[in-house]
Symmetry: C2
Subunit: 314 residues, 2 copies
């Protein structure tokens, strides 16, 4: 397209999109036939001069969702738009809302849903409507925190999801990570804990988030790991944690001895799930989200536009 046509296509686009003129009228104004105008508009779109954005908290980016399905092998993807977002918190909200919407629309409705916990999932639970499902059983799939400052977040998440879904929650009464392997083995052999983990294994769907491997991690905040521990994990290649287990960029366990002291569902079980929904947002989660998708930890991803672009282009 030469310079003259480029300028004409811009003039035509202004009249078409901003002034709502018909191509015929534009042709008259610019001394062109209406077919030429149509072609100029087509070219303007092809060259990317026209940007159409949907400004709404619930706007999604379907082209990115399709690319995630096609290029990254996901069964499904939900990508929320960044258009009009003012703060990272707002984006978090949007992703949580989208995940809640996705769960609500899910068919068939899962009978037993395994959930992890964290800031993201708590937000999701808050965005669910009461009655979004009926008779839904929720089971925690990894050890909770009772000692962190937002005490009870883990339990509250599972309970809220279950309550609003017309069912009940089964909590996993165990720390996330134990200091000694023997303690972990002992806890897991406890009848109640073993029962919960069995139930978790049998869930027909899973909902989880992922944590970044940095000092602001909930594991550090709640004292399961020290900042030095995290630094060491990062040195070994950790990009973040999934249901409490630290993985590298390939989604492999970074520190087997640490992993052996972590209570909850194994990553292998997650990989076998027919439906595993991962929810992540924010730049700090880019690397771990990539690992989750790359290693097949989830079948469905709910995330933000930036993260999706990172997965596809980065």
């Amino acid at each position: 397209m030469d310079d003259i046509d480029e300028l004409l296509s811009i003039r035509a686009a202004e009249l078409y999109y901003e002034e709502n003129k018909t191509q015929e009228e534009i042709g008259h104004a610019l001394q062109l036939t209406r077919w030429k105008v149509g072609r100029l508009l087509t070219q303007a779109k092809e060259q990317g001069f026209i940007r159409i954005e949907i400004l709404h908290a619930r706007a999604r980016r379907l082209p990115l969702e399709r690319r995630l399905r096609d290029e990254r092998g996901l069964a499904d993807a939900v990508v929320v738009s960044r258009a009009g977002v003012r703060s990272p918190e707002e984006l978090q909200e949007r992703v949580a809302q989208a995940a809640a919407d996705y769960l609500t629309a899910l068919r068939p409705v899962p009978r037993t849903l395994g959930v992890s916990w964290g800031r993201t999932l708590f937000d999701v639970s808050q965005h669910l409507r009461t009655g979004w499902a009926s008779g839904l059983n929720v089971v925690q799939i990894n050890g909770g925190v009772s000692l962190n400052r937002r005490a009870g977040t883990a339990a509250a998440t599972a309970v809220a999801i279950a309550h609003k879904g017309g069912g009940s929650a089964t909590l996993l009464p165990s720390p996330a990570i134990l200091e000694r392997l023997e303690t972990k083995v002992a806890i897991e052999s406890d009848r109640v804990v073993a029962g919960v983990i069995d139930l978790a294994r049998s869930a027909d769907a899973f909902l989880f988030s992922a944590g970044a491997a940095d000092h602001r991690s909930v594991h550090v905040e709640s004292g399961y790991l020290s900042e030095a521990d995290v630094d060491l994990l990062v040195q070994k290649g950790a990009v973040g944690d999934v249901v409490g287990r630290y993985v590298d960029a390939q989604g492999d366990i970074v520190d087997p001895s640490l992993d052996a002291r972590t209570v909850g569902l194994t990553l292998d079980r997650l990989r076998q799930a027919a439906l595993a929904i991962a929810v992540t947002s924010g730049e700090s989660k880019h690397a771990v989200t990539d690992a989750v998708v790359r290693s097949g930890l989830c079948t469905v991803l709910v995330t933000d536009e930036e993260t999706a672009l990172h997965l596809l282009d980065g």
Copy 2:
């Protein structure tokens, strides 16, 4: 529009604008008739959920131009889009290019064009194409600076405009502001200077910019005014200068004694002009641009989107 319809209109918009589906197809996908889909899309536009931007250095905002003509009584207006602009300099460039485009398209071609000088007009002169006019005489309408650090900018501007327009430039060989009234009177009675000013008065079109009343003004830079002088002018209500003359928000001369020592066309002559093109851009020029438009100093305004919005809503 209720919540359900709002969400549906967003889903419809995604399929329509991002996936290029027909309304019929969308109707099928969302279990709606195609008429309902059409109405949802109309509503989405009405509610402002759909933003269409034209991303191009030469993109203009025709609705704003129309409002400037209708609501502010301008004969014509050119508003360049801010969409996709990364720096204030880029916006300056866009405005200068737009002014050059406007001049080039101007019919009838003016025989004598009176011009002021400054960073903005210099940019305009650089964006004109050689041969944009023929036999065009250019005359300076206010005193130049020879002592500023970008020596010769004033002359270079007029000469470039004239040269590229196939004509010659007549420079005004005088300082912008003189220290003593007597000197100013003496200079103006000089045969050459008087001749140039007569020629300027007789120009059939004018092209000028405006300066903000702050310490970065060219008048301060070139030593015609001290920073304290400018502070005093601001205290008296000055918002900026037009062809070297400081005006308040109503476009009235702020300091008559200073004005009497300023060489060049009077503002009254500018107000009588059939064609007076003002070119401004940037937030610092908002107030002075408002004064220019409000007091009828220009018949045509070339500016950026932010400034236009300031004039219309601010």
